[in-house]
């Protein structure tokens, strides 16, 4: 504790604070711009940190990380383009809310959720990092598989009623993710002889294509889209006490889910948002308004993705195992300064370990102040004419994709998926379901096959290992809960399915 307080007092000096603020602002900016992201910025800044003091360098990089995950909600809410992959779920409800003229309120839910998620998870980072990290090691391949299986149930909930089409979209997403290296056997699949497909359809060009470029095509073609009159007065940006009273459990639950998923190596903040959103929706009293502007959806997504940032720092600091792509680059930053992350870090270089922990909280607070202070201006962004915004977004996407991989071919992939995404828009295939299939499938496949190898071709441990069995049961509960809850609330036997459909329509005007 004393060392943590020392770390805080050291961070409250000019240069550390300068780097925190600079990092958060840079992070928010790249997070908000579709095409640019924390992984790219941190990777590009890595050589510069060679010349910086090691503590300052880490404070700077952690601040960028915190800022970028929060910045993604801006473009997700205002333009229906997730600024970072972790904001995918935020587009589902943020944008519909903005379309209803409540852009300011949607933003403020996003900002408060980000702050709460960051703060709750920070407590775990500061107090429980070593034991949590050791517990996370208990997760073997089948535990991961069961966890992802739970998240896959979301496909049914994002396909907006058209279940069959949702499944088709998800299966196509699954198929797309199979192209390229098969990490479980070291072979390369489905390239049909095209060398350029050897690395597969990578996350950045694929996501930017289906989400951003397709939306740009829609925006280009649509000459009549009404400009949103976003009324975001500063005082409207604060949530009322009633909002907290109503949603406190969702804030807390989503933060906890985000923290935990962040701790698990290689899962990432997008999956954290997906899982938390599934759970929020299926336990909601009004699951039907999810995807149409539900406050609960924004809370679930944004609390969880910010919480996962601190969650991912837990194994990084405690064990030297990166929890996410950005953390892997942070380990590189530590290595540049010849620091070894891991249990020894607390003993040998406590100023680094506690410095990073303190920076995570300070950056979270700075992020909150900056976002809230500027949210009025941010909300006005959608008043800028399309002839300025859209070229800039396409430009940033092209630059971002090229700089990340160094290949022009990835730009073509992005364009291709933009076209595919547009066709999906028009044919009623859910892009959300496609992306879920694309993100979750490789983890599911990889972990299942790794599990088969580890447990001598037996599936049995999936049911005998307590944690994986727990996840399977939880998946079942989450899946069945909406039906069960309806039964409990509405004991009339048969016509319930039909009448609930009518309830939806009755609910809509009353929706806050």
């Amino acid at each position: 504790m004393a060392q943590l307080l020392t770390a805080f007092s050291e961070i409250m000096a000019f240069w550390p604070m300068f780097y925190v603020v600079l990092g958060v602002v840079l992070g928010l900016t790249v997070g908000a711009i579709p095409g640019l992201g924390a992984a790219m910025l941190i990777a590009l800044l890595l050589p510069l940190t060679f010349y910086m003091d090691s503590v300052l360098a880490l404070i700077f990089l952690v601040s960028i990380y915190v800022g970028s995950v929060s910045g993604g909600l801006i473009s997700a809410t205002l333009m229906k383009m997730p600024g970072t992959p972790s904001a995918i779920m935020t587009t589902l409800d943020g944008f519909p809310m903005a379309m209803q003229g409540k852009a300011g309120r949607a933003l403020s839910f996003g900002i408060f959720s980000s702050f709460i998620g960051g703060s709750v998870s920070w407590i775990f980072l500061a107090v429980l990092a070593p034991p949590l990290a050791w517990f996370a090691l208990k997760f073997g391949p089948y535990e991961y598989f069961a966890l992802v299986l739970m998240a896959l149930f979301l496909i049914s909930s994002v396909s907006q009623g058209a279940m069959l089409r949702g499944l088709i979209a998800a299966a196509i997403g699954f198929a797309v993710s199979l192209v390229g290296p098969d990490l479980s056997s070291g072979t390369i699949r489905l390239t049909f002889g095209a060398d350029q497909l050897k690395s597969g359809f990578r996350l950045l060009p694929t996501l930017l294509g289906v989400f951003v470029i397709s939306q740009i095509i829609v925006d280009m073609a649509d000459t009549s889209l009404p400009v949103q009159q976003a009324t975001a007065k500063f005082k409207d940006m604060f949530l009322k006490r009633a909002d907290f009273a109503k949603h406190w459990w969702n804030f807390l639950r989503s933060s906890l889910i985000g923290t935990w998923i962040g701790i698990l190596p290689g899962v990432g903040s997008a999956v954290a948002a997906i899982v938390s959103y599934t759970i929020a929706r299926n336990f909601s009293k009004t699951p039907e308004i999810f995807g149409k502007g539900a406050e609960e959806g924004i809370i679930a997504a944004e609390s969880a993705n910010n919480a996962s940032v601190n969650g991912a720092l837990i194994p990084l600091i405690a064990l030297g195992i990166p929890g996410s792509v950005v953390d892997a680059i942070l380990i590189g930053a530590l290595m540049i300064h010849n620091l070894q992350p891991g249990p020894g870090l607390f003993v040998n270089q406590p100023e680094i370990a506690y410095g990073v922990i303190a920076a995570a909280l300070v950056a979270n607070v700075v992020m909150f102040i900056v976002m809230l202070g500027f949210s009025g201006h941010i909300a006005k962004l959608c008043a800028i004419p399309k002839s300025f915004i859209l070229p800039a977004v396409v430009f940033f996407c092209i630059v971002g994709v090229y700089t990340t991989s160094g290949r022009i071919f990835d730009i073509w992939i992005m364009f291709g998926f933009g076209f595919v995404g547009y066709l999906m828009h028009r044919s009623g295939l859910s892009i959300g379901a496609f992306v879920l299939g694309y993100i979750l499938a490789p983890i599911a496949e990889g972990e299942l096959r790794n599990g088969l190898m580890l447990y001598d071709n037996s599936l049995w441990p999936l049911f005998t290992r307590p944690i994986s069995l727990g996840f399977l049961l939880m998946a079942l509960v989450i899946f069945l809960w909406p039906t069960l809850a309806r039964r409990f609330r509405n004991p009339q036997p048969r016509p319930s399915a039909h009448s609930s459909g009518q309830d939806d329509d009755n609910n809509k005007p009353k929706m806050r």
Binding site: L48, I168, A171, V218, D222, K386, R426, S427, L452, N457
Partner: protein, 160 residues
């Protein structure tokens, strides 16, 4: 238009699903057999191929018998002439930009400025009034980002 796009989807979606299913199946047949665990590299492709086949057939059958298999997730508005023109020219502009970079026909900065200005003008509702501002914005953004990347972050950008 809305109706015709809906009808196109009734045929298009199952067709796309079947195409993916066939491609996956053919691709899976070329894959090496399982050597480390029973599923092997081809296991999942076969499963997904079969799944897509079933789902697409089901979707197609529902569409064939005239039932609604799924309403378009979003009712997209009708594309007018202006909208179509913008799509075509905007797409061509972006396409030309990447081609120019790929073939190194122009250095990065002028190519980017031209692209930003051109794309902006295509989307502009009032070209005469916005021309100067768009041009200036394109210059600032194109030059600024390029210099930031090459000078501060030391990235090699494409182009001549």
């Amino acid at each position: 238009m809305r109706n015709s796009s809906y009808q196109a989807a009734t045929i298009g979606v199952p067709l796309a699903g079947l195409t993916f299913s066939v491609v996956l199946f053919l691709g899976a047949q070329q894959m090496p057999s399982a050597r480390f665990e029973p599923m092997g590299p081809a296991g999942f492709p076969y499963i997904i191929s079969a799944l897509l086949f079933l789902l697409s057939m089901l979707d197609g059958a529902i569409g064939f018998f005239g039932k609604q298999s799924g309403v378009p997730a979003e009712a997209l508005p009708h594309i007018g002439d202006v909208g179509l023109r913008r799509m075509v020219f905007g797409g061509a502009c972006a396409f030309a930009y990447v081609i120019v970079l790929q073939l190194s026909l122009l250095p990065f900065i002028p190519a980017s400025v031209l692209f930003l200005a051109g794309f902006g003008l295509i989307l502009s509702n009032n070209i005469r009034r916005e021309m100067l501002v768009i041009g200036f914005a394109a210059l600032m953004l194109g030059v600024g980002v390029s210099l930031l990347l090459t000078r501060v972050l030391i990235v090699v950008l494409p182009g001549a």
